[in-house]
């Protein structure tokens, strides 16, 4: 039997019925109904029943505590036993309609003393009450209280979980919308800058071209910041999925190299990529690419003019490691611990030459973890840093076809 549960009491009747069934059997009642007290409406409302159909439950209806005999148990804190309900005005018509002779109503209070409701038990025959029976019914009432409390706690937890999930979704939608709204005017900026640069009106002078290039660079940084925020909001909400497949390490490194090379050139940094034949890692190609690009772009910006950044890879048993090594100023030991923490860069004085949202490394670490890998860093002040991505080899993957998506609009995320 399904009952409509009241809006403020969204307790599934199915969860309450086992306790009712037990109470019915122990008390040898023929039918039982659980009335729950709705605090906002101030009424007792049927929440679950056993041995009764919906029509009969509707006949019992809802009751205002203190207004009638039915609700007296709760309002007067006492158990009501009517041995001959047929000849009691307030129960007679109901007793005849439902076919019970005796009725017993036990008030239910939660463990912290709040009005919970009533357990109503109905008997087809007149029955005498023994002391033992009174005790048993008390136990039954406690059982029902327990079931109601549990069902409420579960409903509450479910509601909290749904709220959290909804908030997460709203946040992602908000970020996606912000991204869209920011990209649209950025398209105009990017477009007009480039049109000016190529001289769609008049060819720019050398000085104008230099200034336009600066605007162009800033616009690209802004796009990366937006990308980072979107990616991070999705990671936080657990909305990122990974397509793990065998990826040739050399190909991932080659792509990262080609993306970061222009940045390295403009910073006067030498970018080296070691050969890494025959190594296949189990990774999401796009995310592996993004990690390497992030690490290499960070290293380029960090080590400054005249520095060298090296991307290398080696296989080690069932795992492979990618190292991004720079000979920059290094990272102080007290900063190494929290360098992967999101927003750290925003919260602390920036490391010299280390721009960006502060989300790039946090995103890389999350991506690494999502591919069953790990991101670590070692640094020597004055000598340089090594960021290492440890990732499983592709040996264990059933799909032997190496796949990597072609170079798309990849961009460094710093």
């Amino acid at each position: 039997m399904q009952l409509d549960t009241h809006a403020s009491l969204p307790l599934p009747a199915a969860e309450l019925r086992p306790a009712l069934e037990l109470a019915l059997a122990l008390a040898r009642a023929d039918m039982t109904v659980l009335l729950l007290h709705d605090e906002t409406a101030g009424t007792l409302i049927p929440a679950a029943a056993y041995g009764l159909d919906d029509e009969h439950v509707a006949l019992i209806g809802s009751h205002r505590p203190g207004a009638d005999d039915f609700s007296a148990a709760l309002s007067e804190h006492r158990r009501i036993v009517v041995r001959d309900a047929w000849h009691r005005d307030s129960f007679g018509p109901l007793a005849q309609a439902l076919g019970f002779r005796s009725i017993e109503i036990v008030p239910l209070f939660s463990f912290d003393g709040k009005m919970l409701g009533e357990l109503v038990m109905m008997f087809r025959r007149t029955r005498s009450t023994s002391k033992r029976m009174i005790k048993l019914v008390e136990h039954c009432a406690n059982l029902v209280v327990l079931a109601v409390s549990q069902a409420r706690a579960r409903a509450e937890a479910e509601r909290a979980r749904a709220t959290t999930e909804e908030a997460g979704r709203a946040k992602i939608q908000f970020f996606a919308r912000m991204s869209h709204e920011l990209r649209t005017p950025l398209q105009s900026i990017a477009g007009y800058i480039d049109l000016l640069r190529v001289g769609v009106a008049d060819p720019p002078t050398a000085e104008q071209a230099r200034l336009l290039a600066r605007v162009h660079d800033s616009e690209e940084v802004l796009v990366h910041v937006i990308d980072d925020l979107i990616t991070f909001s999705r990671l936080e909400a657990g909305h990122v999925s990974y397509q793990i497949a065998p990826v040739p390490a050399a190909e991932a490194m080659r792509i990262a190299h080609s993306v970061v090379a222009p940045l390295a050139a403009s910073h006067g940094v030498t970018l080296e990529t070691s050969a890494c034949p025959g190594v296949f890692v189990a990774a999401d190609g796009d995310k592996l690419k993004q990690i390497l690009v992030n690490l290499a772009a960070n290293a380029v910006k960090f080590c400054g003019e005249g520095g060298t950044v090296r991307i290398s890879c080696q296989s080690d048993g069932d795992r492979a490691r990618f190292d991004v090594t720079d000979n920059g100023p290094g990272i102080p030991g007290d900063r190494l611990r929290d360098i992967f923490e999101p927003y750290v860069q925003l919260a602390t004085p920036p490391l010299e030459g280390f721009g960006g949202t502060g989300l790039g490394l946090a995103i890389s670490r999350e991506f690494a973890a999502g591919m069953h890998g790990q991101l670590t860093v070692a640094s020597n002040l004055g000598r340089g840093s090594v960021f290492t991505l440890h990732i499983p080899n592709a040996v264990g993957l059933s799909d032997a076809q190496p796949t990597i998506t072609p170079l798309a609009d990849s961009a460094p995320t710093a």
Binding site: S179, R183, T184, Q187, I189, G191, Y192, V200, D227
Partner: protein
């Protein structure tokens, strides 16, 4: 009736008419005027003829009329949106041969996949360097007229 075709260079037009080889038409459908202007300027510079539509419905009408070689479309537009426009262009034999290129400020893979499923041949994310718009159009329809490029 005047078509929103703009020719940057009349002598070029007559030259092309003489050789009986008009440059291909690219239809730009975007409710954002600046985006249309940039696409038009850069595509005209590359030698294409460009028509503009500010709504999906107008885009659909012009596509049927002009039979463009490529349609550059925004995804989020009031009324007939880019996904639906791509579907209808793809389904209509008169326009199904046009390369459909989405140019959108939506950046997620899901949105891009939906666009590809709707019949787009390529998706570009805003902001895109104008040269990428030209390269993408050329990838599908070939160069407009290499000989007379500025």
């Amino acid at each position: 009736m005047s078509l929103p075709l703009r020719h940057t260079d009349l002598s070029r037009q007559s030259f092309l008419s003489a050789t009986n080889r008009l440059p291909p038409v690219v239809l730009v459908v975007d409710d954002h005027e600046e985006s249309r202007t940039i696409a038009r300027l850069v595509l005209e510079r590359a030698g294409f003829r460009v028509a503009e539509a500010s709504t999906g419905l107008e885009g659909l009408r012009l596509a049927g009329l002009l039979r463009p070689a490529a349609v550059l479309l925004d995804l989020i537009m009031p009324g007939l949106d880019g996904w639906e426009l791509a579907r209808q262009l793809h389904a209509n034999p008169a326009t199904s041969r046009a390369a459909i290129i989405a140019l959108t400020a939506l950046a997620t893979a899901e949105d891009h996949d939906r666009a590809l499923l709707a019949g787009c041949d390529a998706v570009l994310t805003k902001p895109v360097r104008p040269i990428r718009i030209v390269e993408t159009v050329q990838h599908f329809v070939g160069p407009a007229a290499a000989a007379i490029r500025i």
